[in-house]
């Protein structure tokens, strides 16, 4: 008897949810768009009801307690709907099935999807309302001239088309960015590798750091975990859920030792299951001097780290990625000499990097019909030990103009690496607009990193990271320029189409008159 009563109670409370939600939705934005939103939720809750009915045979006690819990959730009020929906889903499936982890993940996914849909619809409504306002102002000003009215309508239409295109682009991009990636970065306990690892980690990815020495790997893992904790402490909303998947693990690996590389690949598969992105970042250059002054050991290390290491790691990564369901991407780091121009004083380094570029071409052909993408990433000039060891005062003056901190470079490279598709892409930091900017502002960049005597003026890594949170949020002019060049063609194209349309239609209207 008691069971029956309680079962009746469930749909009631659900109904309550629904009406409350709908009321809220209408209160916020009174427009037809909201109906779609409501329908969406409707469909959702109906499915829930069905789920409730199927597990009639659940025992009474548990349901009682669940009911109580649910009431608690209801009483929380403001952030009620999402959390309660989540908890309903959770509790349902927890009883019904054994693998509750899976369902928890599914719920998180559904939640994310719904909220992003709601956000997009909200944006759309706001945009439409503002266009409506502008439209009405336009009509007011035109004063009933029919040609002007037509022009206003056309431009409105054009605006809507452009806006939709850009919006769709944004949505797609956001969709691409979602989801944690599994990343392996070699040589990632200092310099650019570490900055890349940190950036991936704070984008919510699972990262494996490696280096030759176990101690530095452990220290780096600890440090990055600290960074992640700070990131979680500062994060709010969706970025928090994003960061919840992030983790960092490390293993010692000398990239020129085949067994080490094998071990790294096994470790990656064991820890992460599969690898999305494998970055061959390990590279070395023993100072700047003529070949005659390089010792045997130096040459051997440079060749084996840069060339042997990259080839072995690439091969191992390809082996891992061929056996996994989803596509994998391998990045080899470009350096001076990649383009084929001579690199005196770093002849060994340059020729290894040049060889890697040719390797890239061969691999592209070999991997044509597989799920492995081979790419190159070019960080430009980065203020790391690789560049600074053995540089002279004159060199350092030049570094002022073109060099960047590893964090800056990583912040630009990582988002692109995460959304890379296909194969054979080149992700570069020093793109033409950046070079142009550097050359134009060369005068202002004097003494940016080094003073006249070649002493470093920039903060140590720890201090840089302390200011990192606000630094991250800061608007970067060069990034904006990059984004501009990417979207600009789309906008220009659609604008020109609209203009042509308007001109054609207006001349068409004028023709009979003249």
């Amino acid at each position: 008897m008691a069971t029956v009563v309680k079962l009746h109670l469930f749909p009631e409370s659900l109904n309550r949810h629904r009406t409350r939600l709908l009321g809220r939705g209408f209160g916020l934005c009174p427009s037809p768009g909201v109906l779609g939103f409501g329908h969406n939720c409707d469909g959702f809750s109906v499915r829930q009801c069905r789920a409730f009915r199927t597990e009639d045979d659940g025992d009474v006690k548990e349901k009682k307690s669940r009911n109580l819990k649910k009431n608690e959730v209801n009483s929380k009020g403001e952030n009620g709907f999402w959390s309660s929906l989540k908890s309903i889903l959770l509790r349902n499936f927890m009883v019904g099935s054994k693998s509750d982890d899976e369902y928890r993940q599914a719920v998180v996914k559904v939640e994310g999807l719904l909220s992003s849909i709601a956000i997009q619809i909200g944006r759309y409504i706001v945009t439409m309302m503002s266009t409506g306002v502008i439209l009405s102002i336009g009509f007011q000003m035109s004063g009933g001239d029919s040609q002007m009215d037509a022009l206003i309508w056309y431009s409105w239409l054009g605006g809507v088309i452009i806006g939709t295109m850009i919006g769709a682009n944004m949505v797609l991009e956001e969709h691409c960015r979602a989801g944690p990636r599994n990343v392996v970065i070699t040589g990632s306990t200092r310099g650019l590798g570490k900055a890349l690892a940190r950036e991936f980690l704070l984008s919510g990815d699972r990262v494996i750091v490696t280096s030759r020495s176990l101690e530095s790997v452990q220290a780096t893992v600890k440090e990055l975990e600290e960074n992640l904790k700070e990131g979680i402490a500062n994060a709010v909303g969706s970025s928090l859920t994003k960061l919840s998947h992030a983790k960092v693990v490390g293993i010692a690996c000398d990239v020129c030792e085949p067994h080490d590389v094998q071990r790294l690949a096994d470790f990656a598969v064991k820890e992460l299951g599969y690898v999305d992105i494998w970055i061959n970042n390990a590279g070395t250059n023993k100072g700047f001097r003529p070949l005659l002054q390089f010792s045997d050991e130096d040459i051997k290390q440079i060749v084996s780290t840069n060339l042997v290491g990259s080839i072995l790691c690439t091969r191992e990564a390809m082996r891992v990625m061929r056996n996994q369901a989803n596509a994998g991407h391998i990045f080899n780091m470009d350096g001076a000499g990649s383009g084929g121009s001579s690199t005196p004083l770093t002849a060994v380094y340059g020729s290894t990097k040049c060889g890697l570029r040719q390797l890239q071409g061969s691999l592209l052909k070999e991997c044509k019909r597989s799920n492995v993408g081979v790419h190159t990433a070019s960080p430009g000039m980065v203020l790391t030990d690789l560049l600074l060891s053995g540089s002279t005062v004159q060199n350092r003056q030049m570094f002022n103009i073109i060099c960047e901190l590893p964090e800056t470079v990583a912040r630009t490279l990582v988002p692109r690496m995460r959304v890379v598709k296909g194969t054979g892409k080149a992700i570069n930091y020093l793109t033409p607009p950046r070079i142009l900017l550097a050359l134009v502002t060369a005068w202002l960049r004097r003494g940016r990193w080094f003073d006249d005597q070649g002493r470093a003026l920039y903060a140590a890594e720890a201090d840089r990271l302390r200011n990192w949170a606000e630094d991250r949020a800061r608007f970067s002019f060069t990034d904006a320029m990059e984004m501009y060049t990417e979207n600009t063609w789309l906008s220009v194209f659609s604008l020109s189409v609209v203009c042509a349309f308007i001109i054609l239609s207006s001349t068409g209207n004028n023709m009979p008159g003249t």
Partner: protein, 346 residues
């Protein structure tokens, strides 16, 4: 005008020359203009700046070269060829001997050196041929080779870096074994670098100076080489190393040592013939490849003419030029010439 002054004040090391060729120094990771640099067009990254920074007139090496008066290089030449007990190295050695030069051969295996020296001595006489074991991957061996050369021949005029390996297998990188990859890279790149360094070190102090020839291979033009990716990458790096060394020597004002590239094209040696298992490979080998003797016959007079003319300009001697290759492909397609020349095609 004002702008130029500002700029030159700004970077005193970089030269904004009147031809408006913009030179940026790039001691390390710097790829300024991806698209352009890939096509070798726009901004060249030669390190003009470093000339002043690194040219150190007081360093002992320059004093040594400056104080010695250079002697003209006259035949007979002393020639050292690495990896010269078989294939193209052996053919080159033979050809140099025919021209009356003294030749020093070497290779990884003692027995092969022994037998090669024996057969060459039988053919050309005792006093012209020497041989020693040298694994180019081991720096100690290369140093021993240099002292052996100095002991037997006093000086070396022409040093040919011919030792190269492909581990004699052609397969995708994914299937390549660790040992093969390491052998390919260490022989072709590390070995070559060590040899170049030792050769330059030795030749800088020779009154006659010297010429170094690096042998390129498939992939050195930057074109992809699927099925032997590692080999292609190393050969690409050979060409780049030559280029960098030329720039370095010029920067250091070393006039008596010149580094050249040598391209034998496709030669029917073990290295190439181990890869004939596809239809495409068979076609190209039949059409383009030549026996080592033919290649050597062409290359050696060209190599010898460089020191004989007293030329100090870096060169790139090619046996299989583009025109030749295309005309051979054309005659094959048009008249069926060279079909089944070495390998039976189906």
């Amino acid at each position: 005008m004002a702008a130029t002054t500002t700029l030159s004040f700004n970077f005193p090391y970089s030269t904004l020359s009147s031809e408006s060729k913009l030179s940026l120094s790039s001691p390390s990771q710097f790829k300024p203009y991806t698209v352009a640099s890939r096509q070798n067009v726009c901004i060249s990254t030669t390190a003009t700046l470093s000339v002043s920074a690194f040219r150190n007139p007081t360093s002992p090496m320059f004093l040594a070269t400056a104080s010695r008066n250079a002697e003209p290089m006259l035949p007979p030449f002393n020639v050292l060829i690495t990896g010269s007990t078989k294939g193209i190295g052996y053919a080159l050695a033979k050809e140099f001997l025919k021209a009356g030069d003294n030749v020093l051969i070497c290779s990884r295996s003692d027995e092969r050196v022994e037998s090669a020296v024996q057969s060459l001595r039988v053919e050309f006489g005792e006093q012209y041929v020497w041989g020693t074991k040298c694994d180019v991957r081991i720096a100690e061996d290369v140093k021993n080779l240099v002292s052996f050369a100095q002991e037997k021949l006093k000086y070396i005029d022409i040093w040919i870096n011919n030792a190269g390996s492909n581990a004699y297998c052609y397969k995708p990188l994914v299937e390549a074994s660790d040992e093969d990859l390491i052998e390919v890279v260490t022989t072709n790149t590390l070995g070559l670098m060590i040899c170049c360094r030792e050769a330059i070190k030795m030749m800088v102090n020779q009154p006659r100076g010297g010429h170094i020839f690096n042998i390129d291979g498939a992939g050195s033009d930057g074109r992809p080489t699927p099925r032997f990716a590692a080999y292609g990458a190393t050969k690409r790096s050979v060409v780049h190393l030559t280029k960098s060394l030329q720039a370095e020597l010029q920067m250091q004002d070393v006039k008596n040592v010149v580094v050249h590239n040598l391209s034998p094209g496709m030669v029917t040696t073990d290295l190439l013939m181990s890869g004939v298992n596809t239809k495409q490979a068979k076609f190209f080998i039949n059409v383009l490849a030549e026996p080592a003797e033919v290649v050597a016959e062409y290359l050696v007079p060209n190599i010898r003419s460089i020191p004989a003319n007293g030329s100090k300009k870096p060169t790139y001697i090619r046996f299989l030029t583009g025109l030749k290759a295309y005309s051979q492909i054309f005659s094959r397609l048009a008249f069926g010439a060279r079909r089944n020349r070495y390998i039976l095609e189906d």
